[in-house]
Amino acid sequence: MAEEYGDRGSMPARRVSRRRFLCGAAVTLGGVVASSCAPSLGIVGGTPTIKFWNLFGGGDGIRLDTMESKFRHERSHPGLQSVTLAWGSPYYTKLAMAAVGGSPPDVAIMHLSRKGAFAPAGLLEPLDPDLLSRHGIGSDKFLPRIWESAKYDGKVYAVPLDTHPFVMYYNTDICKKAGLLGPDGKLKTLEGPDDVIRAFEAAKKVTGAFGLSFYPNDPAGPWRLFYTLYSQMGGKVLSPDAKEVVLDDSKVRRVLDFMAELTLDTEVASKDSGYPDSVALFQSGKAGFYWNGEWEVTTFEAAKMPFDMVPFPDVFGGNQVQADRHSFVIPRGVDTARKEAALEFVNSMLKSSLTWAEGGHIPAYQPVATSAAYKKLKPQSNYSGVADDVVLDPVAWFSGSGSQMEIQASATFQAVMAGEITPGQGVNQFRSGLRTLIEAPRPF
């Protein structure tokens, strides 16, 4: 064995072969790594493959798949690479960083409530209305109000896909047993806080568990419910330039009192439910009513449970309801060829929005929204009139879906509904949280 360890500097034959093997392996590995670093999106049949980012999981994700395969099968259309990311702040963080980092997707979904953060930060390409018209997705295909909501500072930044409002689901069997249905088999209209709570208490007697299913234990749910009820009273949260808090404390207090009444005084709703829990509660018939966005309709249809959907009830003197809009945006830094391909993709998706509407959303694309096929969709078309009364989140750099304001406000309202703080403390906490956000230096 001694010949293996010759004096320093001389290499016996066996040592050289091991060294050569290692060198060869290193070169091979380097080659593999280098080749994988090359751009992975090639050209498919002469047209670029477009990258599409979205946050649609669950039932929405399945609908999206259907719409995307229709796009892929249409002849001569570019290839598509679709990526689904987790809903909420993880999605918007990644989208912002991708735009800044110079490798954004070619087209992405964005809630219109986030335009106050993305548009002024220069993360989105302003879209030329003529270019959009040439692709069949111009301003004539949308209602003026919806088209305006996609603008920021006079420029168009997004192409709206849908409006998704907060609605009320109800279990037809339970409500029948509770005597809440009218002669036509539909729910009798509920109006005012006492009416609503009486209905929930009647449902609770039937189920033995809860009357209403809701999800206080969530970063978005409590905000949506609060904003709906508060807007029904005509309340506003921020000034239009988002520099001042314009809360009406007595109205906020009234709403929080009502929310606490649901979970603490009458106990018609659980104070602990998270989102998946709330879906399960309604689906298994442990609650007669469900307050949530319309997007769970396919979940309940697939479970073959007896349910129907109506607009959110008029509790505080109005029909306003919180909603948000999904839209397609093009991050900055996407070149012209890819932009054209992306707009073709958007056109195809909008034409398929009937499939999307089956998932519960109210389509923004007028040719589909006014079609007979959409009007025949039940229960989705029951609440399509709600689109006139929706209130979108106040526009600011820190607000919108999955934003710090929504998370903070929901945490405060959750604490009120769980009885950890009084409604009075909730008002103060909400106000001071908003003030902290306004006073923080804007990061762009």
Partner: protein, 313 residues
């Protein structure tokens, strides 16, 4: 005074010139270290310097670069920020609550498994297995176990006639829930370290103590535990540092399962909220530097204590 050259004790050589062979071997060593040193400087040292610079500006995630120079304004803001202090407290509380069980349970498990003669591999595997699971899987399992109503744990409690517990939502219980999840998930590593330490203790110490009339308890107290002291120091230090960095399981349980975030948010979680969700990287950096100084102080104190203790034994 120079030591005589004839004496072959290189450690006492005081001369300032090394022989050529020694210098060449030093150079070879440095060349081998160079790739790692470059990566270290690029990905650790440089970002630390850059991060400190970020904390002095209103650095934004989205506008690519320094905005206004704020000086120490970010630091002043964080010292007055109640959420910063509550987040620091949550991290410290988590460390205090999780370290003792993670050390003691691991020790007890290791001592028990060490005595098993039949199929010991099975027990080693079972207690270590949770450690290899990714955090999302662990969080998902425990979220479903802790659900109110039909969750397994609450349904057992109610079937025994006890009341339900709001594991995820109750502000007094939420942190304990996180500790339970973390102990189940990570005790395996400490357990393996202790097992290795136990198997290094020479058998004859036990035999000698048995001759002196020591029972099992006395043996544990006077032989096993002192012989494990080095392992214990390692385990405790690693555990404290790992606990101070807690973030993943709390964040996943919050976003996917409704964990009460305002009472469990760790400092790393708040840095993420401010730096990434709110795009204020400058402010997030300032917070992480204050946290870094605190961890550094803890580590320095601990190592000083450990070294003094080793010097005494």
């Amino acid at each position: 005074m120079e030591a005589p050259q004839e004496v072959a004790r290189p450690t006492t050589r005081v001369s300032s010139t090394k022989p050529a062979a020694r210098r060449r071997s030093d150079l070879t060593g440095l060349i081998f270290l160079l790739p790692f040193l470059i990566a270290y400087a690029l990905f650790l040292i440089w970002p630390i310097i850059l991060g400190f610079r970020m904390s002095l500006f209103n650095w934004s995630l989205v506008s690519g670069g320094a905005s206004e120079f704020l000086g120490l304004e970010n630091y002043r803001e964080l010292f007055g920020d109640p959420v910063f202090w509550s987040s620091m407290w949550h991290t410290v509380l988590f460390t205090l609550l999780s370290t003792p069980p993670l050390v003691l349970i691991a020790l007890v498990l290791a001592m028990l498994v060490n005595r098993v003669t039949f199929a010991q591999w099975f027990f080693r595997f079972s207690f270590f297995a949770p450690f290899v699971l990714p955090v999302s899987v662990v969080a998902l399992i425990w979220i479903w176990l802790f659900q109110p109503g039909y969750g397994l744990i609450n349904s057992y409690l109610t079937s025994l006639g006890l009341g339900e517990v709001g594991w995820l939502t109750d502000e007094n219980v939420a942190m304990i829930t996180v500790v339970i999840v973390t102990v189940w998930w990570t005790v395996g590593l400490n357990f393996v370290l202790y097992l290795a330490g136990l198997q290094e203790i020479p058998r004859d110490l036990y035999d000698a103590s048995a001759v002196d009339g020591a029972g099992a308890l006395a043996q544990t107290r006077w032989v096993t535990i002192p012989m494990l002291s080095r392992t214990t120091v390692l385990v405790v230090v690693l555990q404290i540092l790992a606990s101070l960095k807690v973030f993943d399981q709390i964040y996943v349980m919050y976003t996917q399962g409704g964990l009460n975030y305002p009472v469990t948010r760790p400092i790393v979680g708040y840095v993420y909220d401010q730096g990434f969700t709110s795009y204020r990287v400058g402010y997030g950096s300032a917070m992480s530097y204050v946290f870094f100084v605190i961890i550094l102080a803890v580590s320095v104190i601990w190592f000083a204590v450990a070294r003094r203790r080793e010097g005494n034994t």
